[in-house]
């Protein structure tokens, strides 16, 4: 060991390092700093014993406290569910028609329905529930299967043309053109007749078209094309069109109709979730 090199000015030992005549003083670390450092070491040792820490070949040490982040998450979820228990119970037992009238219950159901909507419904009906061609807009006042909260509840519950639910809404329109039920000329006539109901460009009412409509369409769509929600017959005399509101689109629909399908959600989400969804959809502005 070489002699200690003491700095004359401060009386402190130097580290022996020297740069351009400047030497580094070897001041000890502050005691509080050292003790904090030792404290962290002790804490780290205790921590790795108490909690899962060391990676092994196929898993990791479990820790003596038996803590697991998944178990903690499960516990949190269970606690959240339990906290909502009373409200969920109330939603499940209140008649659907009364749900919007109870302000606290409606707010709870709407919030829950909104989050279910974002997960399960927004893919087809859009995040703003505006729908798109073939997928109904849920904000407007046109309803294929009725717009009261009970009707909405029934539609979400059993779906539309759902193959898994015997109570599903089911109604299909014949392929008037493709199956040869109407001649091409008649298809054109009836399409023009329908277009004339709401003043669509190219629409043209004619006695022949009137007759064709009365014979083939009125049983589902009504005499004047006002629709029959109880049968799922869309109204044809307004400005809301599921498959496009042009003469071309109407002709295509008469020729070979398209039909939307919606799953029966109560089997998948449970009755309470469907009730919440019904409250949410009903509140979007078109509910009757």
């Amino acid at each position: 060991m070489s002699d200690k090199d003491i700095d004359k000015l401060s009386g402190v030992e130097t580290t022996g390092h020297e740069w351009d005549g400047i030497k580094e003083l070897n001041n000890p670390l502050p005691r509080w700093w050292l003790w904090t450092f030792y404290g962290t070491i002790v804490f780290a040792l205790g921590y790795t014993i108490a909690f899962p820490a060391w990676p092994m070949i196929s898993s990791a040490t479990t820790g003596v406290l038996g803590y697991s982040s998944r178990a903690a998450l499960d516990a949190d979820l269970a606690a959240a569910k339990a906290a909502q228990g009373d409200m969920l119970q109330a939603v499940a037992t209140t008649p659907v028609a009364d749900l919007p009238r109870n302000e606290a219950l409606a707010r709870f159901a709407r919030a829950g329905g909104k989050s279910f909507y974002k997960v399960y419904c927004s893919q087809c009906h859009g995040t703003g529930a505006t729908g798109s061609a073939g997928y109904p807009n849920l904000n407007d006042d046109e309803w294929l299967w009725g717009g009261t909260i009970e009707q909405i509840y029934a539609t979400i519950s059993h779906g539309a043309r759902s193959p898994t639910d015997p109570d599903t809404h089911y109604n299909v329109m014949p392929n008037f053109g493709v199956d040869g039920l109407l001649s091409a000329q008649d298809v054109d006539r009836v399409a023009k007749q329908v277009a004339s109901f709401s003043g669509i460009e190219g629409g043209e009412a004619s006695p022949a078209g009137q007759q064709l409509f009365a014979d083939n369409c009125a049983s589902c769509h009504g005499e004047s094309g006002a629709g029959m929600p109880e049968l799922g017959g869309p109204s044809l005399n307004d400005h809301v069109w599921l498959y496009g509101g042009t003469l071309e689109a109407i002709r295509a629909q008469v020729n070979r109709p398209r039909h939307g399908v919606m799953p029966a959600w109560s089997a998948r989400l449970g009755d309470t979730a469907v009730r919440q969804l019904a409250v949410y959809v009903h509140s979007l502005g078109g509910g009757q």
């Binding site: 919007p100 995040t127 703003g128 529930a129 505006t130 807009n137 904000n139 407007d140 006042d141 046109e142 709401s198 669509i200 109204s235 307004d238 400005h239 809301v240 069109w241 509101g245 042009t246 509140s283 502005g285 078109g286 509910g287 009757q288």
Partner: protein, 520 residues
């Protein structure tokens, strides 16, 4: 007339940081036993203590009648309901700019005060100073003044010492509990909360706050005292930077005090120059910071001016002019110093004294109140009062009715069966008075527009009558509907108006109505 220093008591004391032996960064605490001072500054400090502590302890108990729907506490920070009540003013969370304005005023006010009278905040008004002063009063009342306390501190433990010490700490803790206790009453109805606290029914946070503030008051005011100012407080560093040569600071006028001597008569007989300072250390023993002001301005000095009181007392007894230690500006001090030394290295008392009368010569520059009026302080004052006036104006013109409107973005519009277009809005109507209120909501500048609420089904009309609950926000889901072809495609601006016709107040918010470009 030149009285000898034998006429006055000389103290054996050393300043905690005497010049030449200053410790870097941190020095272990030395015990300080401040002696009781008396004089004009001490009286002023008593007065400030009375006022500040009075405000702090009494304010939550003042009542203010706001009618049946609002609390009747004059000053209340109602965190649960997000309201702040201050006398006739009621502030909502979105009006937090009033608080921001107060903080800016406090900042500029600190500039103003510091640039005129130096660290007056530290010496008189700072809570730390006020509570330390209060704790010292208790200490003196129980253990006696300086000498008795030193004796007691040095004495071995006995029943009497134990009793005195225990009593002192108990009283300190009681003051701490009252301090913490007063704090929580600002956040809830004071009489109710006091009942709850006493019967152990108050929320946990109330007890935690009392405990925390008791601990800090007791520790800072009783145990740490001047160390808080020296080592913990950031203000001295900032305030020191705000002083200039025209700011008043506590100054030892060494141009008349030096050379200091304890045996003036003997020195005069020997023909040596003699200054006014008799080196009695009275200024050191009264200092709550334990410093010696004769070492010049220093970080620890809180400019409480107790040394001025002590020195003036001595000077009076010696038959000399008061003000050997005084509030003085650096520029005046430098002029007097130049006069006393006239370029030489040492102070010559003969230069500042008239040999015939023994009084200070007329050429001495005395600091007076005019020093506080300078361009810098005027600018601070204008800035400070401008913000204050702006806030008062805003308060006077404030309408207690407010309206927020948010147009839906998804969907922007909805086309309905009859071809009309509907837009949705989230509307919030704020009734910022403690009374219920009848208002009418209507549309302006929107031809053919009708409105309806989401909850009330399909009924639409041109206006809606609403009842606002007192002091509450009414959130509404509003649908506005326009008949087909009444509006051009694209964006139309219009107003949503809420009006209280009885009070003659209305608020309107401009928003837009969206109509699709492509219409069938």
């Amino acid at each position: 007339m030149q009285a000898d220093s034998a006429d006055t008591q000389t103290y054996d004391v050393e300043a905690v940081n005497a010049a030449g032996r200053r410790q870097p960064l941190y020095a272990p605490r030395k015990k300080i036993f401040p002696k009781r001072a008396s004089g004009q500054f001490r009286r002023f400090k008593w007065l400030v203590m009375l006022i500040t502590l009075g405000i702090y302890y009494v304010t939550p108990w003042l009542r203010w009648d706001r009618g049946p729907f609002a609390p009747d506490q004059a000053v209340l920070v109602d965190l649960a309901n997000k309201r702040f009540y201050f006398l006739f003013i009621e502030i909502w969370p979105q009006e937090f700019y009033y608080v921001a304005g107060m903080l800016v005023m406090a900042g500029i006010g600190l500039f103003l005060v510091t640039s005129t009278v130096g660290r007056a905040w530290c010496g008189y008004a700072c809570p730390q100073t006020v509570w330390v002063d209060l704790f010292l009063v208790v200490e003196r009342a129980i253990e006696g003044d300086r000498n008795a306390r030193i004796k007691l501190d040095a004495a071995p433990w006995s029943a009497a010492k134990l009793a005195k010490r225990s009593l002192k700490h108990v009283v300190w803790l009681v003051i701490g509990v009252m301090t913490g206790g007063a704090w929580i009453f600002y956040f809830a109805d004071a009489p109710t909360l006091l009942g709850d606290v006493v019967t152990l029914r108050a929320p946990f946070v109330a007890y935690a706050t009392i405990a925390l503030l008791t601990a800090t008051t007791y520790t800072f005011g009783g145990l740490l005292r001047e160390q808080v100012c020296t080592y913990m407080c950031p203000w001295p560093r900032i305030q020191g930077a705000m002083l200039d040569e025209n700011s008043l600071t506590v100054t030892y006028n060494d141009w008349r005090g030096e050379p200091r001597t304890r045996h003036a008569k003997k020195a005069i007989a020997e023909g040596k120059p003699v200054g006014d300072c008799v080196d009695c250390n009275a200024c050191v023993v009264v200092c709550p910071m334990g410093i010696d002001i004769r070492d010049g301005q220093q970080l620890e000095c809180i400019t409480c001016a107790l040394c001025i009181d002590a020195c003036d007392d001595v000077m009076t007894r010696l038959g000399k002019e008061r003000g050997l230690i005084s509030y003085a500006t650096l520029s005046d001090y430098s002029r007097n110093m130049a006069l006393a030394t006239r370029g030489g290295p040492a102070v010559e008392p003969a230069r500042v004294r008239d040999p015939a009368t023994g009084r200070l010569v007329a050429a001495i520059k005395r600091t007076d109140w005019h020093s506080i009026i300078r361009p810098r302080t005027i600018v601070y004052f204008i800035g400070w009062s401008a913000i204050g006036l702006a806030m008062l104006t805003a308060l006077a013109l404030r309408t207690p009715l407010s309206l927020n409107v948010l147009h839906d973005r998804n969907p922007l519009y909805v086309e309905l069966r009859d071809g009309s277009i509907r837009n949705g809005y989230d509307v919030k109507v704020l009734n910022m008075t403690p009374e219920p209120r009848e208002v009418r909501l209507r549309l302006d500048r929107l031809p053919g527009g009708s409105l309806s609420l989401a909850d009330s089904g399909t009924a639409t009309s041109g206006s809606l009558d609403l009842t606002l609950a007192p002091d509450k926000v009414l959130p509404l889901r509003l649908y506005v509907r326009v008949a087909p072809e009444a509006l051009p495609a694209g964006k139309t601006t219009f107003d949503i108006v809420v009006a209280d016709e009885k009070a003659g107040i209305s608020r309107s918010v401009e928003t837009t109505f969206e109509v699709p470009e492509q219409r069938r």
